[in-house]
Symmetry: C2
């Protein structure tokens, strides 16, 4: 493998000049620069990134920490991040930090401490105090998608707003028996689900309606199981479901179909996400576009690396309501004309 010294010799200049010509820093005569770059190209010269990192202290690499890789939301965010980094010439090092695993501990205690990146993107991490401390101790800029505490710029969906908007949509259609299908209590569990539940509760209370909340694992099969349970009992059955995310909502739709409950005429279902399967199930939902959240966070981080003075700003995204065919007025209502399509 040829190094910069070989290139310099072949181009008849010193190592220093060759470096300046290739990096673009400092004074180099135009002719010299041209010659050096041509020779470097001919020799197939590729600079050693370890050497460059050692000398400059910059790695041109971004770390990404996330608890799941195989969930739709996370995979989408990751693709968004990757897309921006690819454009910018940055590498992406991935750290998988599944909650409660030994691997997660090692990620925080060993892997991240190595600082093989210029900045870090944390996605839906929900770190505990110790983890947060480690994150800060790294001393590199951190941006997060979905809340993380402080010390970081945050890009996230306004979950409370999304849930309020979804609930309002159902109330406007005339529903009064609306059940929230989700994973947690308001006081524990992932922040996302708590905020959504809370948005639902507040809107219901404001409208003078009764809050009902059914636990469900946050996944498609989880939504299915919980819905079979709930809908199987006609006494408990609501006329509308608000699911904490689209996967749960779709699980519920599948359950309803199996039980012979027509959607939306007998049961309305709303999700939050606009998952790739949402269209196929005609699911009314709030779009959260994780891909652009990932892109946004990445741009924010890169901006901060360019200019460290740049103060990280929190970005909160207001989801757009996408009305499809899983919501309708409750059964027994005089038919109301409802605009179908996208509204804000």
């Amino acid at each position: 493998m040829s190094g910069i010294e070989d290139v310099a010799r072949a181009a008849g200049v010193s190592k220093a000049t060759a470096s300046r010509a290739l990096t673009g820093h400092g004074y180099v005569a135009a002719a010299t620069r041209e010659r050096v770059t041509r020779v470097a190209h001919e020799m197939g010269y590729v600079p050693s990134s370890s050497a460059a990192s050692l000398a400059t202290g910059r790695t041109r690499n971004i770390g990404v920490v996330m608890p799941y890789l195989n969930r739709w939301f996370f995979a989408e965010v990751l693709e968004g991040i990757q897309e921006v980094l690819l454009e910018s010439g940055y590498d992406l090092t991935l750290y998988d930090a599944k909650p409660g695993t030994e691997g997660r501990r090692r990620v925080f205690d060993d892997f991240l401490a190595r600082k093989r990146f210029d900045g870090l993107i944390a996605v839906g991490l929900e770190p505990d105090d110790h983890e947060l401390e480690r994150l800060v101790a790294i001393g590199r800029p951190v941006v997060s998608v979905v809340a993380i505490g402080d010390n970081a710029g945050v890009v996230r969906l306004d979950d409370e707003y999304a849930a309020r908007r979804a609930t309002t949509h159902l109330i406007e259609l005339g529903h009064t028996k609306i059940t929230f299908l989700g994973g947690v209590s308001v006081s524990s569990g992932p922040h996302v689900d708590r905020a959504r539940l809370s948005g639902y509760q507040r809107t219901m209370t404001e409208a003078g309606l009764t809050v009902t909340h059914v636990r469900s694992e946050v996944s498609l099969p989880g939504g299915y199981a919980a819905a079979v349970d709930l809908l199987g009992d006609p006494a408990r059955r609501p006329t509308a479901l608000l699911a904490t995310c689209d996967e749960v909502a779709i699980g519920a739709i599948i359950a309803a179909r199996r039980l012979g409950i027509p959607v939306p005429s007998a049961l309305s279902v709303v999700g939050i996400d606009n998952h790739e399967f949402a269209e196929m199930f005609s699911l009314t939902t709030l779009e959260q576009s994780p891909r652009s959240q990932g892109m946004h966070a990445t741009r924010m981080l890169l901006g901060q690396l360019e200019d460290p003075a740049q103060v990280p700003q929190d970005v909160s995204i207001q989801a757009r309501l996408i009305v499809r065919n899983s919501t309708a007025p409750p059964p027994g209502t005089a038919s109301v004309t409802v605009g179908v399509g996208v509204t804000s």
Copy 2:
């Protein structure tokens, strides 16, 4: 940040000894080693990976190239890879190479050429000649999950076998009108789908049955759309479907339900994958366990890095048939006792 020199001074030894004590290479007195490691720990010393890489030529990092991050198969493989790397203390740098994009070109021409890894894992890459050439030019060990050409160890599902096994299962149940639902022709498209189609075709021909093949986009909505089309026409409707993967199969099941065609009594459906949703849809399928494929490939690569003499061996996995409740004898057949559960 304290460097190894600071540690050495604090421990009262030379840089060289400190390095030997910490890396475990060369002779160091037990007492000295203990003292150095203790001091290093107290100082919170973390070696600079760029410096170590520069000196040793090893990065302790593995590159992973894949065309999709958000598909079940790929995400699972990635998790498997990540798990093994985490245990082994290796970092993972991810390169997204979506077919036909400018980004993919840059990955092959620029990013990979930087060699920021000791070895590479290619997942379902289907590289063209130019790309394959670049891969070889890197001069680092490459292992692939799903075929890649040559110059590499390969871990993959025996796709032809899986399709044969699935077809045989349907034939044994008494089906004769079995349609293959998949993406491609035998001569073009991803190798995986071609092999599966070919396994189906051969088995059908050997049994003296007629081959019918319906195109479908390889995704859940794709399978749904193709199945609606096929099943909507009673004249064309088969008694069994073999889908190229579980997502397509599930799409077909959903379509059948919508059309009021009971599964499995009027229509049997078999998939290949054992997708996380398979159980929920009671889908009979062939398990391909992408997670362990990823783990396997990673172990193979790490083994090769430990001992370069170790010849990469191709591993072909024979899928296990998991019989659930989406397959049954065709309608109008005298009921046959069929073992439900897992068989090999």
